[in-house]
Amino acid sequence: MLAHAIAALHQAMVTPPVDLSVTDLPPPDAQAEEAFTPVGIPPSTPRWRASTTPTTPLDPKVGRVGVAAGAVTPPDPKDPLARRITALHFPRFSMNRWQWHMDRAGQAPPPEVPVALAVEGPHGPVIHATNRAADQHGIRIGARVVDMRALVPDLRVDFADVGGDRAALGRLMLWVRRWCPWSTVDGPAGLVMDTTGSDHLWGGEAAMLREIEGKLSTLGLETDLATAPTHGAAWALSRCGGVREVCAPQDLATKTAPLPVRALRLHPDTVLLLKRLGLKTVGALADVPRLSLARRFQKAELVQNPLLRLDQLMGRMAEPLQSPDDPPQFCVQSSLPEPVMDPEPHLPDMAQELCAGLHAAGLGARRITLTVYRTDGEVDRIGTATSQASRDAAHILRLFDGKLERLNPGFGFDLITLEASVVEHVDVVQTRIEGGSDEGTELARLVDRLSAKFGADNIRRPAPRDSHIPERREGWHPAMAPDAAPLPAHPRPRPLRLLQPPEDIRVLYAVPEGPPAQFMWRRQTHKVVRFEGPERIAPEWWADRPGTRLRDYYRIEDQHGCRYWLFREGVVGDGRGGAPRWCVQGLFA
């Protein structure tokens, strides 16, 4: 062990000889380090990602010289055009999301069907989003749905999920931070990212834009995007410029000059005003003497002031990107000096630490994931959930009881992480004056423990359903879900137990329309001593298959005093099959 460490140290200190002809292949050492090991030897040479040339020098010194020689001068922090801003615009965000959901449900219409999404307007629904086919048919956004229906009778209209779109855009804003550390939402269907200094990781700006567009298209999103030195220019080029446009600081004026004035993020009224003044492009506006513009729009606000917007586009006025923080992540990890077979002794401390973090943030965990990393690179996960947000370490530990045996330790684990993957706010309420536990908490914990052991689908509460058929009248929902409405009382006597499915019996009639005189069920003969009925329950035509027969229910008592609930399915001569079938469905007390 010691000899191995000394050898590793020696290797780390000696710089490997640089041989430019064979550096295409990584050295064997580098390949061995590729396997994930948190307590491995630190890499002796830094590895460069996404190199443009195959002959990347491995020597750090040569590498730095190479980068420095590659015309990238350190940017001056005072220079307003030193930043690189990428703007993303999703022209059909709502429609793309709708199509993605329909694809998932297997109900997506073919692309040639015109589809529009509507929102409620003051005079009936108005068009909110369209697909490509609807555009070609002349459907306009903002028009009333009835007018567009007159234009295209086979237009398919669905309601838009505006709140869902907003939430999805917020999630997407965090998701795009894989390309750069700062991003924020820009309007109802746009994002803006500060990609200063992160493009080289993807092989340049053009390659990065291609990568972003490709990744977003796998999510089903159509994207217009552009990179420019200012937010205003990136916004303008992404909406009105070419495909994946990259604008260098020196080209800023020439590239933005032919764009229309609406690319300046102005209010539509101001755009109309400028059009009436004969100023149709950004270049034309920039040629107007500054003094006249300033005098004309002296008191106008930012969205109505073309001069301020022009200054923002040209970088004369600063417009910093305000990137919201990442949502807090509650994850505790413990990297072990030696592989262990059983993670259990480490869990109490980790749970304590996790719960302390949750407590400090005023949150509780709804879903907890334990991840173990094996020495041979395999990763194993166990998840558990709580019905009420919890930050009690002892409770969280109990939920993992009996689940840890399912982990296959192999040659042992050397890294364990415990993560609260879904968290919720917890209001601290003292229910009793002397302190003590909340009544709801105790029951919720019982449900958690039972659900963790038997599965959430096996711990259920009754929920009413809108049906008369006895077996369909009661639904059972997982107790982890929010409480359902209480069941209404039933006016007629109902059995304590229901047999599922009803069991066939052989009957001996007294009269065909009445109750049986005697029946045979489970190889036992029961004589009917008393009966009550019939109670007729008709099939539900809106739910049952055609040809379903009605049921006549009888409460009967046999010679031993046992009380059953029988039914006859159909009546003789109803034209829905042969002789009626008799079944026993319930047991009375």
Binding site: E439, E442, L443, R445, L446, V447, R449, L450, K453, F454, N458, I459, R460, R461, P462, P470, R473, E474, W476, A479, P486, L487, A489, H490, P493, R494, P495, L496, R497, L498, L499, Q500, R522, V529, R530, F531, E532, R555, I556, E557, Q559, H560, G561, C562, R563, Y564, G586, L587, F588, A589
Partner: protein, 226 residues
């Protein structure tokens, strides 16, 4: 806790106690503990009716655990037939040993109104130790526990009261001579820690259980049809 060893009693004490409890019906004490109900037949729901008449539904939800064969042979509970307002938390498990585990978990939660476990047959897991654990836990947390046994023999158990319940012919219906009346059950208390064993005709009335030796012209023996 009631399970602690009682202090030694003299013969006079025992006789006096006997005289005191002899007049009471069934169990002398209704404190929450483990009770066992043996159904005469698997398809006889009399044991459930007998139990539901004794459960206080206002105390809290009822944790109702059943194993797979019980659900298959005797059906699942039907909320429309249970007393109105009862809050049931239904737990479906496959093995009897899981019923016992879930019952033990439930008995630790004192906000529950009752814990009901349905066990089919005589599983080896349900031995004296298991029933003693359930009984002690039920008494410690004051949660009544009911063990419903079908197709089972009454072997060794620590349940504080053991009943055998069967259906009897129902009472006369004053409105219709052919129809069913109020249900009656034959309840046989064959082992009791605090009361005197005996046999009664039981019925539910006004949400409580009534035990009688005979009901309106029906003798206990003559109530069954030949």
């Amino acid at each position: 806790m009631r399970s602690a060893l009682p202090p030694p009693k003299s013969a006079t004490d025992l006789l006096m106690e006997r005289a005191e409890t002899a007049g009471r019906k069934g169990e002398a004490d209704s404190q929450p503990t483990l009770r066992e109900l043996f159904a005469d037949k698997a398809t006889d729901a009399a044991a459930l009716g007998f139990m539901l008449a004794q459960i206080d539904i206002t105390k809290g939800p009822v944790l109702w655990i059943s194993d797979r064969i019980s659900r298959k042979e005797a059906g699942v509970i039907c909320m429309a037939g249970l007393p109105h307002g009862i809050d049931v938390l239904r737990v479906d498990v496959s093995k009897p040993v899981d019923v016992l585990w879930a019952m033990e978990q439930g008995l630790g939660c004192s906000t529950l109104g009752a814990v009901v476990g349905e066990v089919w047959g005589d599983p080896p897991a349900l031995d004296f130790t298991a029933s003693k654990r359930l009984a002690l836990r039920a008494e410690a947390h004051a949660v009544p526990a009911w063990l419903i046994r079908r197709a089972a023999t009454a072997n060794l158990s620590a349940a504080r009261a053991r009943w055998r319940v069967a259906s009897l012919a129902s009472m006369h219906n004053p409105d219709d001579i052919h129809a069913l009346g109020q249900p009656l059950w034959q309840a046989n208390l064959f082992r009791s820690r605090w009361g005197t064993p005996g046999e009664w005709v039981a019925r539910a009335q006004d949400g409580t259980l009534h035990l009688d030796h005979r009901v309106e012209g029906q003798t206990e023996a003559g109530a069954r049809y030949g």
